[in-house]
């Protein structure tokens, strides 16, 4: 009989190897899925994971890796802090939208003035918007003990409606011939989050993501607050004895993740997306949850996971146009990855044993 024995210490080997195993398992089952859809599985996998990096048009797709990876990494870094401490912010999508609205709102308010100060002001406003939106669940949790999972998620739907109202109302382009959506920020130099080096995909969001990664790494490895985050997640009782203030930690974790999600939204709306429109958000806030877990809640891991997820988005687009693979197939593929990761994580904490179990 096979049974499980709890490891005295989580296995470091398996902690590192499970993401890779999960990716391999997803290739296998994703391939089966593609085959079931009537596509050549090997061809599909190559199209998704090889074409964007080394294919004929790689020069076009490689910059996309940074453009799509940056918001994912930025959001996931923030989420990982909370997830480590058992504080579940799953409303990053809403904070992303609010950040974009606040930031774009500030930019559009100054239109058509030109000043180097406008973009920094937008960045601040974006961070503030995301932070404020995350402070709602944080405050309610600290003050009333309300479940932050449900509140943060409900606020995503509220933010989506707010976005619709803004792009049809206050922020609508007055010269847009009645079409919904704001002015295009790409055509407004002071507000445009342009590429820092043309043709590389490197915009300010990528810089912010890198800073966030370094900041999170130092925080978790060296700072007292990082210690508080880790110890709260692993042993909440011990954390209380160590003098960690749980309320303050909730405010910090939710606030930081909201701020980073807001920044991601601002950089997206002022750069690649260009304008506030009803559906400019494409679900980065939810995909970032997968990124955070796939990256083992570790800053470096998150960078790798973010790039991998960005690759599935880009490769998915190519597969959609070349092979007719439905966009939803990529979503299933991403969900599968999280499933396998969670399932295989078993081996990090438990050991398979053959023979008779003495308990049970």
């Amino acid at each position: 009989m096979i049974w499980l024995e709890k490891r005295p210490q989580p296995s470091r080997f398996f902690a590192y190897i499970t993401p890779l195993l999960a990716v391999l398992a997803t290739f296998l089952f994703g391939g089966l899925l593609f085959a079931a859809l009537g596509k050549d599985p090997v061809q599909s996998i190559i199209t998704i994971f090889w074409e964007p990096l080394f294919g004929e048009f790689a020069f076009y797709y490689r910059p996309q890796l940074l453009i799509k990876g940056a918001p994912l990494v930025l959001i996931a870094i923030g989420l990982s802090l909370g997830f480590k401490a058992g504080i579940w912010n799953i409303g990053a999508e809403g904070q992303y939208i609010m950040g974009a609205l606040f930031g774009a709102g500030v930019g559009l308010a100054f239109y058509p003035a030109e000043s180097v100060l406008i973009f920094p002001a937008m960045v601040m406003a974006g961070a503030l918007g995301g932070w404020l939106w995350a402070m709602i669940p944080a405050f309610l949790k600290v003050r009333f003990g309300t479940n932050e999972i449900l509140v943060s998620l409900m606020l995503v739907y509220v933010a989506e409606q707010f976005l619709a109202s803004m792009s049809l109302g206050l922020l609508k382009n007055p010269e847009g011939f009645g079409f919904p959506g704001s002015r295009n920020l790409q055509q407004y130099d002071s507000a445009h989050n342009a590429e820092i080096i043309a043709g590389t995909g490197m915009h300010w969001g990528v810089v912010a993501a890198l800073i966030a990664v370094i900041f999170a790494y130092v925080l978790l490895a060296r700072h007292r607050l990082g210690f508080a985050v880790r110890v709260t997640g692993e042993a909440p009782r011990a954390a209380r004895f160590a003098g960690v203030n749980p309320g303050r930690l909730v405010l910090f974790c939710l606030g930081t993740s909201g701020m980073l999600a807001g920044l991601a939204g601002l950089f997206e709306v002022a750069g690649p997306a260009g304008q506030v429109s009803i559906d400019f958000n494409v679900g980065y806030g939810f995909t970032a949850i997968i990124v955070a877990f796939l990256g083992r809640l570790h800053p470096i891991g998150i960078v790798l996971a973010g790039l991998l997820m960005a690759l599935t988005y880009i490769g998915g687009d190519i597969a959609q146009s070349q092979l007719g693979l439905p966009a939803a197939a990529i979503q299933v593929f991403q969900g599968m990855l999280l499933f396998f990761l969670l399932a295989l994580d078993l081996f990090t904490n438990y050991r398979l044993r053959l023979g008779r179990a003495e308990t049970a």
């Binding site: 499980l4 309300t146 479940n147 969900g335």
Partner: protein, 306 residues
């Protein structure tokens, strides 16, 4: 603006219909949580049920077969959650989120061919002369069978939990899984069955949206109803009849804001559409002070190792 176009009798009749998806999903989740498992994948199971039910109803021409398929679809997806949390001992919060993300993707994939298709209508129950009673007739006796099934389900869950041995065992597993295990109950097996029951209910709730409420298929059409159902279980302090009350409350708000949109109230449509979510938050805040009713082992992983 003309509020007189809102007919209170039709409003009440419609709110019962609006409440049914939430009611079905929340009743299922209540059983799951009473068994000590927190399944955050309700939204994913609902949307999968919505497309399974829709597709099968269209293919077979029978809405009832559709509902059966929806229950099976929801239960199959929940079995994945059971595998993750009960066998692979994964974190329940993360697994539930994974279930929702996966369910949203899978339903979009399955539903591609069904966008814009009209499903077969499910007829209303025939109560004969009862339906002709003024006021009470349209409110109580003019609905589809699934709506009555939802109410019957609440009663059945209440009676089972309160009066039967099965209910007692289920509650024991939820309150203290170690003690239940020591008494010789199969914790993992009982929880797996509870999770599948929850999945089947959520699936039917989803199918109610795609087959009766809307009725058509669009991607992501459950739009957070699964999450409201989760909130409702907390709101109801894990008690079946309060789930019914809560579901009608939310159904009422949803229906009222739709009617207000129709009546052309001066409040913009988007702000009216926000209201069910905001009210959910407000209710959660008011009720979150009392957590004493929560099952003791809720959300904790069980492993018979110590």
């Amino acid at each position: 603006m003309d509020l007189s176009v809102i007919n209170p009798i039709l409003l009440i009749a419609a709110l019962m219909s609006a409440a049914t998806p939430i009611l079905l999903a929340a009743t299922g989740e209540l059983v799951v949580e009473r068994a000590g498992v927190l399944n955050l994948g309700v939204e994913g199971m609902m949307i999968l049920g919505a497309i399974c039910g829709f597709a099968i109803a269209v293919e077979t021409g029978s809405p009832l077969t559709g509902f059966v398929a929806a229950a099976i679809g929801g239960a199959m997806l929940s079995l994945l959650f059971a595998l993750l949390t009960q066998v692979a001992l994964a974190n329940q919060v993360a697994s539930g989120l994974a279930l929702t993300l996966f369910g949203l993707g899978l339903s979009a994939l399955l539903g591609q061919r069904y966008v814009g298709v009209k499903p077969p209508r499910m007829g209303d129950m025939n109560f004969g002369p009862l339906a002709d009673i003024p006021v009470l007739g349209p409110i109580l006796f003019s609905h589809d069978p699934i709506l009555y099934l939802g109410i019957a389900l609440v009663a059945a869950v209440w009676a089972t939990l309160k009066y039967t041995r099965v209910g007692l065992i289920l509650r024991a597993v939820g309150e203290n899984h170690d003690a239940a295990h020591a008494l010789g109950y199969k914790v993992v097996r009982i929880r797996t069955l509870a999770i599948m029951f929850g999945g089947a209910c959520a699936g039917m709730g989803g199918a109610y949206i795609s087959l009766i409420r809307v009725p058509q298929w669009t991607e992501g059409m459950t739009a957070g109803v699964g999450w409201i159902a989760l909130a409702l279980v907390v709101f109801a302090s894990w008690k079946p009849w309060r789930v019914l009350l809560g579901a009608y409350l939310f159904g009422g708000i949803t229906q009222l804001q739709l009617n207000l949109q129709g009546a052309g109230v001066a409040i913009p449509v988007e702000y009216l559409a926000m209201s069910p979510y905001i009210i959910t938050i407000v209710v959660l805040v008011i009720l979150s002070a009392d957590k004493s009713a929560a099952p003791g082992s809720l959300g904790r992983t069980f492993h018979a190792s110590h």
